[in-house]
């Protein structure tokens, strides 16, 4: 991937991961890594296997084949050390709608062993950064979709993770909220957090991001945007994605 310091283990390393649901293969020999302090886009259509991969990284599902390491910690054998460094925003909304914003954040902090007082201080700080301090005591139900996502991202950052995983975080949001969330997460990267951002929206890829193209459970290309474009022989990332996925389909059909 873009810049790799040989002395540091990659933030996230996925090695030869395969996963099946019964007879259907959801992931086939997936290998890639996320470099420190980089914004890595996991690009794939619906059904490509993005959410399955997220469930494996967060040990929600048992890994059937391969290895996943976070800062060198195997997520199966040393899951506590691995998960401690990770913040996750899942695709489905996972906030308690009947609880207030702050209550949701305090609950999450407790799950990481962070006490109420410290949680409250961190929550205030994070809510201020996304201009939601005024809504701290409102029920989550009364927030807009964009605000809920912002709160989920704040929640994922509460325990100060060094790797942030986001699974299609902008689905169902308007253009303005999408842009705000993208900008916010890019700011996190500038502050030293590594990000894996899964999406099917090609326009969410910025020119200096890293990209992993996942299609029908296989990684077709990965690296800096420029490198992926070169592999596909395309002028922009959109045509690169189309070229790769269509070539992938042809190769698959021929096989």
């Amino acid at each position: 991937m873009a810049v790799e310091n040989p002395e540091l283990p990659p933030t996230l390393a996925i090695e030869g991961v395969s996963h099946r649901y019964g007879a259907r293969a959801a992931l086939i020999d997936v290998t890639f890594s996320v470099a420190p302090s980089r914004f890595t886009v996991l690009l794939g259509l619906n059904g490509a296997g993005k959410s399955t991969l997220f469930s494996l990284i967060t040990r929600l599902y048992a890994i059937q084949r391969g290895h996943i390491r976070i800062f060198g910690h195997d997520v199966v054998r040393t899951s506590s050390e691995a998960l401690r460094a990770v913040g996750v925003v899942f695709q489905p909304r996972t906030l308690d709608l009947d609880l207030s914003v702050v209550q949701n954040l305090i609950y999450h902090a407790a799950l990481h062993g962070i006490g109420k007082r410290q949680a409250r201080a961190r929550a205030n700080e994070l809510l201020e950064s996304i201009a939601l301090s005024q809504r701290a005591h409102d029920k989550v139900r009364n927030l807009s979709g964009g605000q809920m996502r912002q709160v989920e991202i704040a929640r994922a950052l509460l325990h100060r993770p060094r790797l942030l995983l986001l699974d299609e975080p902008t689905v169902g949001l308007d253009i303005k909220s999408r842009a705000a969330i993208l900008a916010h997460v890019h700011k996190m990267v500038a502050e030293g957090v590594s990000v894996l951002w899964a999406t099917h929206l090609i326009d969410e890829v910025a020119h200096d991001d890293d990209v992993v193209v996942l299609h029908e459970g296989r990684v077709l290309a990965h690296g800096a945007v420029a490198r992926v474009m070169a592999i596909a022989g395309a002028q922009d990332i959109r045509s690169a994605f189309l070229a790769l996925t269509q070539a992938g389909k042809v190769a698959h059909d021929l096989a």
């Binding site: 059904g47 399955t52 799950l111």
Partner: protein, 280 residues
């Protein structure tokens, strides 16, 4: 946020204080959710009250009660079935929260819970403790209503049942989680009613003393004796009168440990609705 910001944190293992904060947080959230679900609370109370006021009143004349421990006098049928109805509340509560953990109506919340870095066995056990904890105010409210109906126990009994209810609540929650993890029949609540709740409740000492069951059907008597629900009912029945039924305590304690270990081992979120809905 910089990498240095996290360097002050422990990098391996968790302090006991962190476990305590986590457990407290899980119970606190369950309590808050319970306060927001008034319909569930009302439904949980109506069920045993219907049994108490209608069923028991109808059978008052039919079922004469002899004096059996822990009772020291002749008692009304309502008094006899009160402990069984307390356990009925816990049985429903345990099934409800366990089913939602496995076939997840609470999908998002289980995800949030399970990405916590604390060990999974601890998170699941804490969740069971939280489910048990919210059954306690339900049971006490039922007892308060029963008290207005002149069903009274000695004052010590109301305190003595607390540990008994804690143990029985855990046992039933763990049983629900274990059974729904290993059986496809229990995907919905109707399945749980048919295959767990009704058989457990009726084949027990909840509605009639076991000596009476034996008169009717010796084989059913043995089933009742083996039913852990019977022992949970008896544990609470004795506790309500400030006594300890040691056999029941041993059975309920043993079953709680067994079911909890089994439930944690059998729990697999890649099965069930979480997996199916979790796919993109």
């Amino acid at each position: 946020m910089s990498a240095e910001a996290v360097s002050g944190q422990r990098l391996t293992g968790f302090a006991p204080g962190e476990y305590a904060i986590c457990l407290k947080g899980i119970v606190w959230r369950e309590g808050l959710r319970f306060l927001h679900q008034r319909e569930r609370f009302v439904a949980a109370l109506v069920r045993p009250l219907v049994w108490l006021f209608i069923f028991a009143a109808g059978f008052r004349q039919v079922l004469g009660m002899s004096i059996i421990p822990p009772y020291e006098t002749y008692i009304l049928y309502e008094v006899y079935i009160t402990p069984g109805l307390m356990l009925l509340i816990q049985l429903f509560n345990g099934m409800q929260s366990s089913l939602s953990m496995v076939y997840d109506r609470e999908m998002g919340n289980m995800r949030t819970l399970l990405v916590s870095p604390l060990p999974r066995w601890f998170l699941l056990a804490a969740k069971l403790v939280a489910g048990m904890a919210v059954s306690l105010p339900q049971v006490y409210t039922f007892l308060a209503i029963a008290w207005l109906w002149d069903i009274e126990a000695p004052a010590i009994g109301y305190i003595a049942i607390l540990p008994a209810l804690a143990l029985s609540g855990l046992m039933l929650g763990a049983l629900g989680m274990l059974m729904s993890s290993i059986s496809k029949q229990l995907e919905n609540f109707a399945g749980a009613m048919n295959f767990v709740i009704f058989p457990m409740f009726f084949a027990s000492s909840a509605l009639s003393p076991l000596w009476r069951v034996r008169e009717g059907s010796p084989s059913l008597y043995y089933v009742c004796e083996l039913n852990p629900f019977t022992h949970a009912v008896e544990l609470v029945r004795f506790a309500l009168y400030g006594q300890i039924n040691w056999i029941s305590l041993a059975v309920v304690g043993g079953c709680t440990a067994l079911f909890m270990v089994g439930a944690i081992l059998a729990y697999d979120p890649s099965r069930g609705l979480l997996a199916r809905r979790g796919e993109p």
